[in-house]
């Protein structure tokens, strides 16, 4: 029954996406070109889409990470500086290490010190932002060979980062849906106490997902730096909320315990279509933002409607054990 309910909501999302896509394509035929879809629409969303994957895991446990954008920028920055001073290898290592440490700090504060995820990552968002500004003295940090590859290379006519995204999306879908680890994430989100009382090491799991999220931010840092050739300390400010928007749009409950990876992926596609489609239609940026907000509200309402229907069905089904007893 749960499966079916998710299917219907994801279907609703798909319909929303199809309508948007078709509408834009009719208005602006240029939108439908392979080049535009791959190199503009998809390429522009990859960073947000990739971070939305671990963010889905975090939100399913009832947590949140408001610092992902700043983690990404800090990792890109420190990596870029290390690459400039030493070598590309140093740059890569420093970037990955930065991502992991940023995630670890969040994870330890949330899991061990039991500070709420919202507060912890709000604080670390400012912490990482300030650090990025401090180390760069407000200047730009520039791309280096490895990050250029990550941000600009193509394979079989499709940008490398899209291949990476597809691979990661597959892995995260399996991780959440099929593994014991994924099951434990849902269980933590639905009832952390009872999960602990079932012998699950909830603290370890929480630390793992925040570190994982930090690592993905580091990976995205390469792509981001490569794509824009330089990065400034304030580049990640909107990024945090955009990632969360995608996840919530995909039907993952901000209260935890409900959601799936498919929804997040479709949510990513919807935002990608909106971003690039509205630009193609020459709609000014302020209207674009309003449209994004409106679409999010429509999605959340449809989620509530589907959810309510599922609940009603449940109540009818309650009669069953009665009859049996």
């Amino acid at each position: 029954m749960k499966e079916k309910f998710k299917f219907t909501f994801n279907l609703a999302l798909l319909v929303i996406w199809a309508v948007l896509f078709a509408g834009i394509a009719v208005k602006a035929p240029g939108f439908l070109s392979y080049n535009y879809i791959v190199n503009v629409m998809l390429r522009n969303i990859v960073e947000i889409g990739m971070v939305a994957l671990p963010m889905t895991l975090i939100i399913i446990t009832g947590g949140i990470d408001l610092s992902v954008g700043n983690t990404m920028v800090l990792a890109a920055m420190l990596g870029g500086m290390a690459a400039a001073k030493a070598s590309d290898i140093a740059g890569v290592l420093v970037t990955l290490l930065t991502g992991a440490v940023c995630g670890l700090l969040n994870g330890v504060l949330i899991a061990k010190a039991k500070i709420s995820a919202m507060v912890t990552t709000l604080a670390s968002m400012f912490l990482y932002l300030g650090m990025a500004r401090g180390v760069s003295h407000g200047d730009s940090v520039y791309s280096y060979t490895f990050s250029e590859y990550m941000g600009t290379m193509s394979f079989l006519g499709i940008p490398l980062q899209i291949w990476l995204y597809v691979l990661l999306a597959l892995c995260f879908t399996v991780l959440l849906k099929k593994t014991a680890f994924g099951r434990k994430l849902y269980s933590i989100g639905l009832n952390p106490h009872a999960t602990k009382y079932a012998g699950v090491n909830t603290e370890k799991i929480l630390v793992i997902i925040y570190v994982l999220c930090g690592m993905i931010c580091a990976l995205v840092a390469f792509i981001f730096l490569g794509r824009f050739t330089s990065v400034k300390y304030d580049a990640g400010t909107n990024f945090n909320l955009k990632v969360i928007t995608v996840v919530v749009l995909g039907g993952t409950s901000i209260n935890g315990g409900i959601g799936d990876m498919k929804g997040t992926i479709i949510g990513t596609l919807i935002i990608a279509t909106l971003n690039s489609g509205l630009t193609v239609l020459n709609i000014p940026i302020d209207v674009q933002t309003i449209v994004q907000g409106a679409v999010l509200i429509i999605a959340l309402i449809s989620y509530a409607v589907v959810n309510n229907r599922a609940r009603k069905k449940r109540i009818i089904k309650v009669e069953a054990p009665d009859a049996l007893s």
Binding site: A180, R183, S187, G199, N201, K317, A320
Partner: protein, 505 residues
């Protein structure tokens, strides 16, 4: 006014998913009367009162208050119409002061220019007057959390009096009071009665009913059984009404062969409350733990299972010392704990039955890539669902839609699926109906025959006496006594459990 009927319930029916909680209850209360409602735990006493004061809506039946038909949609409305209830667990706000709690939701206000503000002076005067009437002194400006249980109850009573209620319902008021506090409470009830209040007194303590009440209504399994004057009846007759069958045959305890010592704790301390506990459990034995709420039984068991820290002491399993750092360690040694609080610690209500049963051992149901084998999960859950007799259409059914008894069976199934040697059941029959209770008792009995050792914490003494081979009594975090099956009686256990507490109180 004298002897007018102020509360009349007729044919009250209330069903919950899977349980018929009340099946046609009749009840009436006169002014100046203390009327007891008694029945076993789970008989429906508290449910009935929640229907009266608007927490639940009855499916059918009528409620008449002071001669008028009423249907309350919440307790506040009931208060205003003259019905106040003092709940078993107090419903006060811990962080607010006594005064704020007394007038919560019906504060006395005054005009201050264009604004309506709370009139603290008027409230204080009124509160002082009420406490004078109750001959009690409580600082009106301390937070509730600073008060003891008895004082909280006094605040609850005072709160009832801030409304002009003439009907006061006490829901097991003496459950956590010392003997002296009970005496004081009875004095208050008598003075309220003399003032013409009608009082509903819910309890299953016979002595209290005969001491304080004029009439007594018995309900059993949600059914109305009888109403009698306490002067015309006696304890045996009431018990017979409550139980509806001979006491002896009630507990399906089967004699099992008790083997050698399986588990031993020596000089065990948790992080502060549980002190110097030494006890043992033998194979095939049902070991009871009795004590008042807060005596430290749950704390002890959680600590033994690695769910709470330990500061000193040693544990032995089959003669070998064991080290338990986490619940995982305990499970690996064959010790499994079923929590008293199903909703919060026991089960994931919004997950299916099979997911719940598999949760503690997911790591055994995966391949090397951590991919879950859902077939094996289904099989595991299915086996124990049948063994324990969970009544549900299938394993994918959500736990939240099951009745209390069936939820408890899921919790037990989950524990059994871990193949424990020592099963610790914390209040295994709390909040389940009578039939499910009997079934759970039967399951417990059956398990010992398979050689399992069971530790059972329960606040229901008849249950412990009926089921256990030995009963330890805890008090204030320490062991206060131990009784063998033959010698255990409610009176003996209670006197040990209450002993110094009432002397000190």
């Amino acid at each position: 006014m004298e002897n007018a009927t102020i509360l009349r319930l007729q044919d009250i029916v209330k069903t919950f998913p899977g349980v018929k909680a009340l099946g046609g209850i009749n009840f009436n209360l006169k002014s100046g009367e203390v009327h007891a409602i008694c029945g076993e735990n789970g008989a429906g006493k508290s449910t009935l009162m929640k229907v009266v004061c608007g927490v639940y809506r009855p499916d059918s039946g009528s409620i008449e208050v002071n001669g008028k038909k009423e249907s309350f949609s919440n307790p506040m409305e009931a208060y205003r119409k003259g019905v106040s209830i003092i709940f078993q667990e107090t419903s006060l706000f811990e962080e607010m002061t006594v005064l704020e709690n007394l007038f919560l939701g019906h504060e006395i206000t005054k005009k201050a220019g264009p604004f309506t503000v709370i009139d603290y002076r008027a409230m204080t005067i009124r509160a002082e007057e009420i406490f004078r009437r109750l001959s009690t002194q409580i600082d009106l400006h301390v937070q509730i959390k600073a008060l003891g249980m008895a004082q909280k109850q006094m605040v609850e009573i005072a709160k009832a009096l801030t409304f002009d209620a003439n009907i006061i319902i006490f829901d097991e008021p003496t459950a956590s009071l010392t003997q002296r506090e009970v005496t004081a409470l009875f004095a208050i009830i008598r003075s309220l009665k003399a003032e013409g209040f009608g009082i509903v007194y819910i309890s299953h303590r016979m002595e209290e009913i005969f001491e304080i009440c004029d009439r007594v209504t018995v309900i059993r399994d949600g059914q109305y059984i009888s109403t009698k004057f306490t002067s015309d009846t006696d304890k045996d007759e009431l018990v017979a009404d409550m139980v509806g069958r001979k006491m002896g045959s009630y507990y399906p305890k089967t004699e099992t062969e008790i083997g050698d010592t399986l588990f031993r704790a020596e000089h065990y301390y948790d992080s502060g409350f549980v002190t110097d506990i030494s006890f043992y459990a033998r194979r095939g034995e049902i070991l009871g733990f009795a004590g008042l709420a807060g005596a430290g039984r749950t704390e002890l068991m959680e600590s033994i299972c690695g769910l709470a820290p330990r500061t000193a002491g040693r544990l032995f399993m089959a003669g070998n010392e064991i080290e338990v750092q986490s619940y995982k360690d305990a499970m690996a040694r064959g010790i499994v704990y079923v929590s008293e609080d199903r909703g919060k610690y026991g089960l994931i209500a919004d997950m299916s039955i099979e997911n719940n049963i598999a949760l503690p051992q997911l790591d055994k149901l995966v391949n090397k890539f951590d991919i879950l084998n859902t077939e094996r999960e289904k099989e595991l859950a299915g086996r124990y669902m049948t063994d324990v007799g969970i009544k549900a259409p299938d394993g994918e059914f959500l736990v939240t839609n099951l009745s209390g008894g069936n939820q408890q069976k899921v919790a037990v199934s989950r524990a059994l699926a871990l193949k424990p040697e020592l099963l610790i059941l914390d209040e295994p029959t709390r909040g389940v109906d009578v039939n499910a209770k009997a079934e759970i008792h039967k399951i417990i009995s059956g398990l010992t025959q398979q050689g399992l050792t069971i530790i059972m914490i329960s606040s229901e003494l008849p249950e412990l006496i009926g089921m256990c081979d030995r009963i330890y009594v805890m008090k204030d975090g320490a062991l206060a006594g131990c009784f063998d099956r033959g010698e255990a009686t409610q009176e003996k256990i209670l006197s040990v459990a209450l002993e110094t507490k009432s002397a000190a109180g």
